[in-house]
């Protein structure tokens, strides 16, 4: 039972690509194409659809954030007028917004760190356990990975229910602990910790399975050689395994940052569609402004600021992906 073959069966081993040059991008090695127009013809439908469903809304997001756009503009009673940077100055001058930003960053960072560390530890552990344990763990991981987020959120809400939740019941069985009726969502930090647990629980399987695939690519001889040279378990991990896994780790971390910054249904559903002030993350905050306060323009400004916040991370990810694209 190995969830770790990276090449599909029956297909001959992948073309061994030459290692990428350290600096400077090499043009991709494809052979001269039949007609220069062919690839664009193939791309046209895809780019067309993306322009419509993504390009247009993105442009609209930007223009919207510079307009006054509320209920009456939505129904067309009043034209949307441009207000310059008003929405941004209002948002950026609001101390609540900054509290939300800090909360979101801390929350996302916590999710990413726990996910990556737990994922790495479990992937390494899976290399050491017996076959049947590996099968059991894989089943549990795939089941939690495949669970729709909305189902997982619903189940966690039940686990942490104040009166009938199994967690409170189990904790209360410990001597001297009385947790029945304890409301995990009474305080923001505690409630968000529960939500973080939910996010990590759902995210770890993908990380474990991807890292396991990567670990099979670590040459055994290199580990042996390092061991013969006197490296301990940590040394082998630090100087052999980690450098080889680095591209995967960068990819996984970046994806996790993007996903965890975008956490929405988990908070939204856990708080019954009305997250309290101390549960607001950038996503729910933007949603709240737009659809609860009916200020679509300010909601857009917040959404745009969220995207900008992510751009730094994206840059790192892009470089990694470009390298991969180059190698092929």
């Amino acid at each position: 039972m190995s969830a770790d073959t990276t090449t599909p069966a029956k297909v001959p081993p992948p073309r061994q690509a030459p290692p990428p040059p350290p600096v400077g991008e090499k043009p991709s090695p494809g052979r001269p194409s039949a007609g220069a127009g062919t690839p664009w013809l193939l791309l046209a439908p895809c780019l067309g659809i993306l322009a419509l469903v993504l390009g247009y809304p993105l442009v609209r997001l930007v223009t919207l954030s510079f307009q006054k756009f509320g209920q009456s503009q939505l129904w067309g009673f009043q034209p949307a007028e441009s207000v310059g940077f008003d929405n941004f100055t209002k948002v950026l001058g609001d101390s609540e917004f900054w509290a939300v930003v800090v909360r979101t960053v801390v929350f996302a960072a916590g999710c990413v760190i726990f996910t990556m560390v737990a994922g790495m530890l479990i992937a390494l552990l899976l290399q050491r356990v017996s076959g049947w344990v590996k099968i059991l763990v894989n089943i549990a991981l795939v089941a939690s990975w495949g669970m729709p987020i909305i189902v997982a959120t619903t189940v966690f809400k039940w686990l942490f229910d104040a009166d009938y939740g199994i967690l409170n019941a189990l904790l209360s069985r410990l001597p001297g602990v009385e947790m029945i009726g304890h409301n995990w969502f009474a305080s923001g930090p505690q409630g968000l910790a529960v939500i973080m647990l939910l996010v990590v629980w759902g995210a770890v399987p993908f990380v474990v399975i991807t890292l396991s695939a990567g670990l099979t690519q670590v040459p055994k001889e290199m580990e042996e050689a390092a061991r013969l040279d006197g490296a301990g378990a940590w040394g082998v991990f630090r100087y052999v395994t980690l450098p080889i896994l680095k591209p995967i780790i960068v990819m996984l971390t970046t994806l996790s940052v993007i996903w965890d910054m975008g956490v929405f249904p988990q908070v939204f559903v856990m708080r019954n569609g009305h997250p309290e002030a101390e549960f607001q993350l950038l996503t729910t905050y933007s949603y709240d402004r737009a659809f609860v306060v009916n200020d679509y323009a300010q909601g857009s400004a917040i959404a745009l600021l969220t995207v900008v916040l992510l751009l730094g991370v994206v840059a790192v990810y892009m470089r990694q992906m470009l390298k991969i694209g180059d190698v092929e």
């Binding site: 990276t6 895809c46 609209r60 552990l125 189902v151 591209p247 995207v307």
Partner: protein
């Protein structure tokens, strides 16, 4: 070196115990969902619940189907997910071919573009998408939802199919072309059969993603047109939550998806990471 075996075997026990701990922790929420779904509703709200199954009953499932129409939302989810996958695969395959088999000016920009698109959080797009559909008269229509789902299915499809295509050696196509095939027929006769399993996996995975989507389904459709994920919200009313039927509903939502997922996940991990490790 001969002394290594004995301690290693002994230490494996420790690792196995740790592994079992991971199994229990990761699997518990799923177990508890199933356990609650099949136990009598009265036992579900016992403040000191038993960890092992108490009695087995299917009544929670009946109650779940009673609380709100189930098959309508499931049917709508099916229509939306299938439509999204069919469109996404048809369009995505062509694009994936272009970026993985052709060298052309602007290829890099296209790759970056398709990747960058995946960076935009869906939530950030909800406001303009809502306004767009509102303007087009597509609010509360399944077609509107299908169009918007392409935002995340299409880039994903292109990128994953690309992963599967690059794993098929170009030499196979070249050999066929030396033997007299045109480029198109070389693709159809040689690459396509090898790509088929990857395409199936990508379709299934895309289907699951569309099926599981919550936010757009909630925002862009009214109560009467809700999809399966939104349907789960019906168990929480202002009078409280019916947990046992809710877990039965969750089970009905999750089990088919998890089974589908089990079938393709290994292949998907391969496609998603293709090229990430080699080189």
């Amino acid at each position: 070196m001969s002394t290594v075996t004995a301690p290693r075997r002994r230490s494996r026990l420790g690792w196995n115990l740790l592994g079992l701990l991971v199994f229990v922790t990761a699997g518990f929420p799923v177990y508890w969902m199933l356990n609650t779904a099949f136990k009598p509703a009265a036992d579900a709200i016992d403040p000191d619940p038993s960890l092992l199954p108490t009695g087995l009953t299917l009544s929670n499932f009946g109650r779940a189907l009673d609380i709100a129409d189930f098959w309508g939302p499931v049917g709508r989810s099916l229509i939306v997910s299938l439509a999204v996958v069919v469109i996404g695969m048809a369009v995505g395959l062509l694009a994936a071919l272009a970026i993985s088999r052709f060298a052309f000016r602007g290829r890099k920009i296209v790759i970056v573009g398709i990747l960058a698109v995946q960076m935009v959080p869906l939530v950030a797009m909800i406001i303009p998408v809502f306004l767009l559909l509102n303007d087009l008269g597509q609010y509360d229509r399944l077609t509107g939802l299908i169009i918007t789902y392409l935002t995340f299915i299409l880039p994903f499809t292109v990128w994953t199919l690309r992963g599967f295509i690059v794993n098929i050696p170009r030499e196979l196509e070249e050999a066929a072309m030396v033997d007299g095939c045109s480029r198109t027929s070389a693709f159809i006769r040689v690459v396509f059969p090898l790509l088929a399993p990857g395409m199936v996996a990508t379709s299934v995975y895309g289907f699951i993603q569309a099926w599981n989507e919550y936010l757009y389904a909630l925002m862009l459709l009214s109560q009467k047109n809700q999809t399966a994920t939104v349907w789960l919200g019906n168990f929480t009313t202002k009078h409280g939550t019916e947990y046992a039927p809710m877990m039965a509903g969750s089970t009905m939502m999750a089990v088919p998806i998890v089974v589908l997922f089990l079938l393709v996940q290994r292949k998907m991990a391969a496609g998603l990471t293709a090229g990430a490790v080699k080189g």
